[in-house]
Structures are given as structure tokens and as C-alpha cells.
């Protein structure tokens, strides 16, 4: 862990220090109120009935026995949900069609995956609600199931949505299909490029469906009041995203919807889409306007909230003897689940992004299968894409007899290069991040011992700026109350408050941040896309500048000078030989309360790069992979609170390791999910991991951001599976081309080798 204190670098006083987070005490004492913790008078409890079939026509639903059970207050089916038309809806990290979102909330004619919601009940307590759900009688006509993306593309495959037509590079096809979209990026002449190459490597890869795995299940409380106003309390990445979904799905004016975000127990992209909230609202109205609380069980979370896509990927890369890549080609098939919207677009943007390429072609397919609808998961679509490309890059470097870091340095993108998906790269710190690993004691020290190997891999992620609104009021004692709308999932109250404190020249502890709901602050995009410390930080800087302007006027009044004469620097206001601190100036009193607000929408969040190095030992008897050492370097721009930046990197690595080594959805042939528990869906535990050395590369502050912040939340989930695969290859001689690289798979590969 890099414990270096860089607080005074660049003259910053607050940025780069490690204060205790403002919401910390509430979270270590059990006082913080998370979504499922809310209790309201008259609260009812809701429960969802889910499809036992992965693909079935719904012939009839009889709710009469459930309704007759004492304690049951309301039962709903899709008939209670308004019909909505096709409409494209952007939720920040994902784009969806409103009609499909509605059908994913409650199935209308067909169930498209095991766990698809069919009906819901509200009752006096959760046990009665569960009993009532079991009394609902549904008649299904089971249909043939397709679970694999490439099989779903074949002619004759069972069709999930009859009306779906392929969006073929912008033109709609004419036949029913499971392929929702084909996208393509192309540059130069790939075949000519491959003709120039001295070595060409081509491989195919398969990765499984994996889940975000947040520890707090989905939850929500809704009150549909007698006056038509809907109030939702839930844990979400974005209260405004919930408001707009509720408004659209229930056809309620946005002014009639209030969303209050409660504390959130992890999300990683999975808590942007609503699942329970619209049901709880409908139940509340039907139950006589009583509040209804709904929470998912863990099995429901795994079966029916959005995991991320399983995929099939082919990569072909060619290079000259000197290491320069002459051409690269990739084909990606992503399983969207029951409705369109896999992250294949992002995967296509990530897959070759770290390499300067004159000749490239990338084809991506978004394909429906009878699995839950995919939603965003940390750097959506990036990890599986990079797994394929980085394994091929590693093999290419090996074939050329080059060090894998040197191979990447020769081909590294830098400022001014164009990404495959179009945009020009601004100043980035990728090369510096490669150097950080190359010069790290970990990489310089040779790895010794049998069955051991070292792997490296790199990752790129886009990052996002987004819209933020904030406001502040200055208290009589010179402290500042900050109101923000960005859900705090991993310490962002601290990183936002620190940027305001830096702008005002006061202590971090003197800024008191509060996250509020949709009625109390201007619009905010979701906490996602690694945007909050960047984008909401950008907003509080603008806010601080406004407050400083007000304070300059106060100083000018005090000293009876022209406001232009008052300068401000680091919280000290001065004119001529007079000076006064922010706090002293507040203490002088102000005739008018000191408040300000700001709203911003920065467009140029700089992309992020990560370079990881891992040492493993593979048990030759069992195929189990043990991680001996892990170092993750990341281009972080400027680390506001270094501990939480390290935490983002360490947490992302752990998720990437789980994806790489153990996690997968296991279905039977009829599409039933067989491992819907946290025992059988195997996420990393403390003994599975070593300490994770997070190296913060701060050589390239992001241009355009007042403090050079670069989003840090996502990119480090991208390299781990590839780095592990490359390490396993060095340890065993085997190239693993399927995730997860679980003991049984590694063992099988070693035996076949």
C-alpha cells in the first residue's frame, strides 16, 4: 500500500490527505440507515412471484386464493402496470427501451428467464406475503430454451421476442431474430496489415455470466399517497434515475414522484435499473395507500437482478519482429439476457484501446438468451473483452521473445491518438503507468519456484463526467453545510467535501456533506461511470468559487475597498497589507446569509488506464490457483483521498479475481439457475487474497478538471482475469481460454496439455 502523504504536493492542503470520512461513525456504529432499514407507520411487506421456467408463455394467472388469505392487502400482475410504448431511455451507464423495461418489471405474455417477475403481493408481514405468493396459480406453456449467445444467433434458434429485428450497423433487418444489434469499428486495411506481420496469433475465448455481488440485496419502500404523489425510499446509484424510471413506467408526472436515497450497500452498476420500486408503488396504491417495503432475497438477486453478460470473443493480432502491431481484429458476442442491452458497445471500445493501430476491425453482437437481463457491472463489458485481447497480446509478446511490458510500451496509445470508437485521446498517464510496473520492486524481482508464474495485463476505461448539482450554506462558525445528490457508495462524501474544502481553504472537517433526494437538490446523474469524484467534484469547485466571490464582497465591505482589490488564496482574503481568513471573515457577520449553488456538466472526463502484475502458484494436483502477490498500478490523475482511491483499486482487483478464478452462473439445460446462493456463487473471501498493492500514478492530472481528478472506480476490474491467465500460462504452460479458471477447468487443461 502506498502510504505516501502527498497532501502538500502541488500546494494542496486538503487534497491528498486522509481524513476520516464524514459518514464514518454512523457506519461503524450501525446507525446509518440503509435501504432495507427504513420503517414507516403502517408498513406492509411485499413479495414477488417469479417464473419457475426460463422460457414460457403465460396462459393464465389466478390470484383469488392469494387475495383471500388473511393479512393480504394487495396483489398485482402485469395487468396493473400501464402499457408503455417503445422509447429509448438512457440511464447513464446503460440504455434501454422503456417497453422492455416494463416487461422486465412484470412479465406480460412470456417469461424470458428463470426468476422473471410474474406477480406481486403486499401483506401485513413478509411471511404472509410469502404464503400468498405460493397461492397464486399460473398456467405456463413451457417453450424451448436458448442459453448460449452463439447458439441463439443460429437460424432455427428459439426466438425470445417475436418483434425484434437486428439493428445492423444502423439499418433494421427484416426477419425475427435474437440478435438485437451488430456494431462495428473499422480503420485501415486489416488484411494488408496481417500480410505485413511476422507473427499472427488468433484465439477464441468463452466467459460466463457473473454478478456484481453487492452484499446488500435490492430494496425499496414506496408510498403512493392519496393525493397521487409517489414517494420512494431505496438504495440506488441515482435518485433521479429512479424518479425518471418510476415516472415512465407508471406514467406518473415527474413532479408527482419523490425519491429519497438511503445508504447503499454496494452497487457496482447493478443499482441503476429499478426492479422492486414500481411494484411497491403499485401495491401501495392498491393496498389503500399504505407504504410497502420490498427486499430481494439473495437467490432473487442472483436470479433476477441484472448480472453482466457471458460472452464469446475471438481476437486476432499480428506484429512485426520489432514488436509493432500491424493489425488487430476482434469479434464479440455478448449475451444480453431476455431483453436487448448487453454492454457489447463498451466491450468493443475497450478491447483494443491500449494499442496504437493503423489497421483494425471490431464487430460486436448484442444477443438475447434466456438469462436475466444484463445490467451494468463496473466497467461494463470491459473485463471479458480485455481478457481475450490481453491474453493474445501476451502470447504475441512471448512469440516475439519480448518482455510483455516492453511489448505494450512499443504499442502504447498516447495523447493525440484516436480510439477505435472515434474520440481523440487527451493527456493520459498510460505510459507512466506501464513504467510504474516495470520499475516496481515486484516486477524487478524474479519469481522463483515450481508451478509458479507471473502475468501482466493492462486495461482501459472511458470514464464519464455527467451532470451534478450542489448547494451550500455557510454557518456562523465558518463551517459549511454541503448538499449534494450523488449517492455515496464508497467514500464520495469525503472526496467531494475535500474538494470544496480545498477551494475554500478550510479544513476537510469543516465541510459537512449531506446526500439528499430529488426534491431537495438539482438534477444529478447516477453515481456510476467513475464520475462522482470527478463530476460532482467539478461542481463543488464551481460552488466554492461562487462562495469565494461572496466572501470577497464581504471583505471589500469590511475594508471599504473595491471588490477588485480583494484577492483570495488558500482561504485567505487580502487587499494591500490587510488579510483575513475565511472563518474570521464569517465571524465578522454578514447582513445576508451566505449561500450558493452550482450545476455543471463537464464533458471531457479523461479515460483511465491500469497495469497489473500478479504472481500465482498452481497446485498440480488440484488445479487451484493461489495468488502470491498482486500489484495494481493505475493512472489516477490526482488522488483526492488516497485511501479511498487505493480502496477502489483493491476492491476492483478482488472482483476481477473472482471473475477470473471462480464466479459463474451455472444453469441446467432447461435454464434453471443452479447456484443462486453465495455459497455456490463463489466470490473471493479474505483468505483467497493477499494484500493488494495499489500504486497511484499521479503523473497526468486530467486536463480541464480544476484538481486534475480522473475517475478511478472502474478500470482496475479489467486486467485481473487476463493477468491471471497469463500467470497461469507461465506456471503451467497452459493457455486458459475460458473463464472462470476454476480448479476443475485448470486441472482439465493441464491434463489435456
Amino acid at each position: 500500500m502506498a502510504m505516501k502523504e502527498n497532501g502538500h504536493k502541488n500546494g494542496y492542503r486538503v487534497i491528498g490527505t486522509r481524513p476520516i470520512r464524514p459518514d464514518g461513525v454512523d457506519k461503524v456504529t450501525g446507525r446509518a440507515v440503509f435501504g432495507a432499514d427504513l420503517h414507516l407507520p403502517g408498513l406492509l411487506y411485499g413479495k414477488v412471484l417469479r417464473s419457475p421456467h426460463a422460457h414460457a408463455r403465460i396462459l393464465s394467472i389466478d390470484t383469488s386464493a392469494a387475495e383471500a388469505l388473511p393479512g393480504v392487502k394487495a396483489v398485482i400482475t402485469a395487468a396493473d402496470l400501464p402499457q408503455v410504448a417503445d422509447k429509448v431511455k438512457s440511464l447513464g451507464e446503460s440504455v434501454g427501451n422503456l417497453r422492455y423495461m416494463s416487461e422486465n418489471t412484470l412479465a406480460r405474455e412470456k417469461a424470458l428467464y428463470h426468476g422473471h417477475p410474474i406477480a406481486a403481493v403486499a401483506a401485513e408481514n413478509i411471511h404472509v406475503a410469502e404464503e400468498a405468493v405460493n397461492l397464486i396459480e399460473v398456467e405456463y406453456e413451457p417453450l424451448p430454451v436458448v442459453l448460449d449467445g452463439r447458439e441463439a444467433m443460429q437460424p432455427g434458434a428459439p426466438i425470445l421476442i417475436q418483434g425484434l429485428r437486428t439493428d445492423e450497423l444502423g439499418k433494421l433487418g427484416s426477419e425475427p431474430t435474437n440478435v438485437a444489434a451488430h456494431i462495428q469499428h473499422k480503420r485501415g486495411d486489416v488484411e494488408a496489415g496481417f500480410a505485413e506481420a511476422d507473427v499472427i496469433i488468433e484465439r477464441e475465448f468463452r466467459t460466463e455470466t457473473v454478478h456484481q455481488g453487492y452484499i446488500e440485496p435490492q430494496n425499496g419502500v414506496a408510498l403512493w399517497n392519496d393525493d397521487g404523489h409517489i414517494h420512494i425510499w431505496c438504495s440506488t446509484q441515482g435518485a433521479f434515475a429512479v424518479r425518471s424510471q418510476i415516472s415512465d413506467l407508471l406514467r406518473a408526472p415527474i413532479s408527482q414522484v419523490t425519491v429519497t436515497p438511503l445508504e447503499i450497500g454496494g452497487a457496482f452498476g447493478g443499482k441503476i435499473n429499478v426492479y422492486l420500486e414500481p411494484l411497491a408503488a403499485l401495491l401501495s396504491r392498491k393496498a389503500g395507500h399504505r407504504p410497502v417495503k420490498m427486499t430481494m432475497t439473495r437467490a432473487e438477486v442472483l436470479k433476477a437482478s441484472g448480472p453482466t453478460s457471458g460472452s464469446w470473443i475471438r481476437v486476432r493480432m499480428g506484429a512485426k519482429k520489432d514488436g509493432r502491431i500491424t493489425a488487430a481484429q476482434a469479434e464479440l458476442v455478448y449475451e444480453a439476457g431476455g431483453f436487448p442491452g448487453s454492454p457489447v458497445g463498451a466491450g468493443a471500445g475497450v478491447i483494443l484501446a491500449p494499442y496504437r493501430l493503423d489497421n483494425l476491425q471490431i464487430d460486436g453482437y448484442d444477443v438475447l438468451v434466456n438469462r436475466p437481463k444484463a445490467s451494468a457491472y463496473r466497467a461494463p463489458g470491459g473485463t471479458n473483452a480485455a481478457y481475450a485481447a490481453e491474453a493474445v497480446a501476451d502470447e504475441l509478446a512471448e512469440a516475439l521473445g519480448m518482455d510483455p511490458i516492453d511489448f505494450r510500451l512499443i504499442n502504447a496509445v498516447k495523447e493525440g491518438d484516436r480510439r477505435a470508437d472515434g474520440p481523440m485521446l487527451p493527456r493520459i498517464g498510460y505510459i507512466e503507468t506501464l513504467q510504474a510496473i516495470k520499475n516496481h520492486p515486484h516486477y524487478r524481482q524474479p519469481l522463483e519456484g515450481p508451478h509458479r508464474g507471473r502475468g501482466v495485463a493492462v486495461g482501459f476505461w472511458f470514464n464519464w463526467g455527467g451532470k451534478s448539482s450542489v448547494s451550500a450554506s455557510v454557518n456562523e462558525d465558518g463551517t459549511v453545510n454541503l448538499v449534494e445528490g450523488s449517492t455515496d457508495i464508497g467514500g464520495s462524501r469525503a472526496s467531494i467535501a475535500m474538494q470544496l474544502a480545498e477551494t475554500l481553504g478550510i479544513a476537510a472537517e469543516d465541510v459537512h456533506p449531506q446526500v439528499v433526494g430529488t426534491d431537495l437538490v438539482g438534477y444529478n446523474d447516477v453515481t456510476g461511470g467513475s464520475r462522482t469524484t470527478y463530476g460532482t467534484g467539478y461542481a463543488v469547485h464551481a460552488l466554492g468559487v461562487k462562495l469565494n466571490e461572496i466572501m470577497r464582497e464581504l471583505a471589500a465591505d469590511l475594508w471599504d475597498v473595491d471588490v477588485e482589490e480583494v484577492r483570495v488564496e488558500g482561504g485567505v482574503f487580502s487587499a494591500g497589507d490587510r488579510s483575513i481568513t475565511f472563518k474570521e471573515l464569517v465571524a465578522q457577520g454578514s447582513d445576508t446569509p451566505i449561500t450558493a449553488s452550482a450545476a455543471t456538466h463537464p464533458k471531457d472526463a479523461g479515460p483511465a488506464f491500469a497495469v497489473h502484475c500478479v504472481d500465482v502458484e498452481v497446485d498440480p494436483e488440484t488445479g487451484k490457483v493461489t495468488i502470491l502477490r498482486y500489484t495494481a498500478a493505475q493512472d489516477v490523475g490526482t488522488a483526492i483521498h488516497p485511501s479511498y482511491v487505493e480502496g477502489q483499486i483493491q476492491g476492483a482487483v478482488a472482483q476481477g479475481v473472482g471473475w477470473g478464478l471462480n464466479e459463474e452462473y451455472i444453469y441446467d439445460e432447461e435454464g434453471h439457475l443452479l447456484n443462486a446462493s453465495l455459497l455456490d456463487y463463489r466470490m473471493p473471501t479474505a483468505p483467497d487474497l493477499p494484500m493488494i498493492d495499489a500504486v497511484l500514478v499521479e503523473e497526468a492530472p486530467t486536463p480541464g478538471h480544476p484538481f486534475g481528478v480522473r475517475g478511478v472506480g472502474e478500470v482496475s476490474i479489467i486486467p485481473p482475469p487476463a493477468a491471471l491467465a497469463n500467470a497461469i500460462h507461465r506456471a503451467t504452460g497452459v493457455r486458459m481460454t475460458a473463464l472462470p479458471m476454476s480448479p476443475s477447468r485448470v486441472m482439465k487443461a493441464m491434463i489435456e496439455h
Partner: protein, 161 residues
């Protein structure tokens, strides 16, 4: 409808009586009946440790204990970890080491770690990791949690010596 039983317990030092149905878990009673919502639910089947409490000196998954089984039991939940003098050393080191991100796993980790330090005041890193194997954290990668527990052990060591 099942009938309810009256259960007598001591929770965080106070005598507490509650009524519960045989099918209700201790976790449900704590959260829904007693409104002690600091104890979290992540899985409700013993796989995540978010619901951990200390019952008669033993660390338990409260989702796997029935409410009626708590008759005469002495229970410590997260709400009882700090004292009037201040935070428990583990709470303090979790804050200083940034050992929580979202914080949903934190109450469970704190009680597990307390149970560890109560029986093994000077654990090694490996002992900490294996003791905490029943607590899942999806945010931190465990690095800072393990450091916070080791640091709390060090500090307690210094105080007692």
C-alpha cells in the same frame, strides 16, 4: 397464523423481552421487531456474515438462529460495541484505515473481529484472514479490513502491557 412466544434476553446490556413466532429468525427479530437495524441481512442463509452478532460469547449468524432460541441469551450487536467512553478500538481503526466503502458488511466484520480479538489478542495476518472467511465484503478486497484488525490488536496490546 402461528402463535407467538415471549422470549427474555439481554441485548447490549439491557434486559429485552420480545414476542416472536417460531419461524422468525433472530435476525428478523432484531431488525423488524426491535428495530436494531445495524445488524444487516446479505443472504439470510449463513453465507455472508453481515448479520453476525455475539450470543453468549459465541459469534453467530443471527439469520441461522431462531428468535425463540435466544431465551435467556446475552447478545451483543453492533449497537452495543461502542461504550459511553467512545468507539471500540476496532471501530476506530476501521475508520482510520478506510476499511469500509459502502459499509453494509462493516457491522458483521466488526463483531467477527471482536470475537477474534477476544480469544486471540495477537493474531497473525493469516489467522485474521481465516477467521474472517465467513464475512464477505465486495467493496474493499479485504486489504484495509485486515490491516485495521491487526492495528486494533496492536493498540490493545499496547494498552494492556
Amino acid at each position: 397464523m402461528s402463535t407467538k412466544t415471549i422470549v427474555h434476553t439481554t441485548i447490549n446490556g439491557d434486559p429485552v423481552e420480545f414476542l416472536c413466532e417460531p419461524r422468525q429468525s433472530l435476525l428478523e427479530v432484531l431488525r423488524e421487531t426491535l428495530l436494531l437495524t445495524g445488524t444487516k441481512e446479505g443472504c439470510n442463509n449463513g453465507n455472508c456474515g453481515a448479520c453476525n452478532v455475539i450470543m453468549d460469547g459465541v459469534l453467530v449468524n443471527s439469520c441461522l438462529v431462531l428468535g425463540v432460541e435466544a431465551e435467556d441469551a446475552t447478545i451483543t450487536t453492533i449497537e452495543g460495541l461502542a461504550s459511553p467512553d467512545g468507539l471500540h478500538p476496532l471501530q476506530q481503526t476501521f475508520l482510520e484505515h478506510a476499511a469500509l466503502q459502502c459499509g453494509i458488511c462493516t457491522p458483521g466484520f466488526l463483531l467477527s473481529a471482536k470475537a477474534l480479538l477476544d480469544r486471540n489478542p495477537d493474531p497473525t495476518e493469516t489467522e485474521v484472514r481465516y477467521w474472517l472467511a465467513g464475512n464477505l465484503c465486495r467493496c474493499t478486497g479485504y486489504d484495509k479490513i485486515v490491516r485495521a484488525v491487526l492495528d486494533a490488536a496492536d493498540r490493545r496490546d499496547r494498552v494492556t502491557r
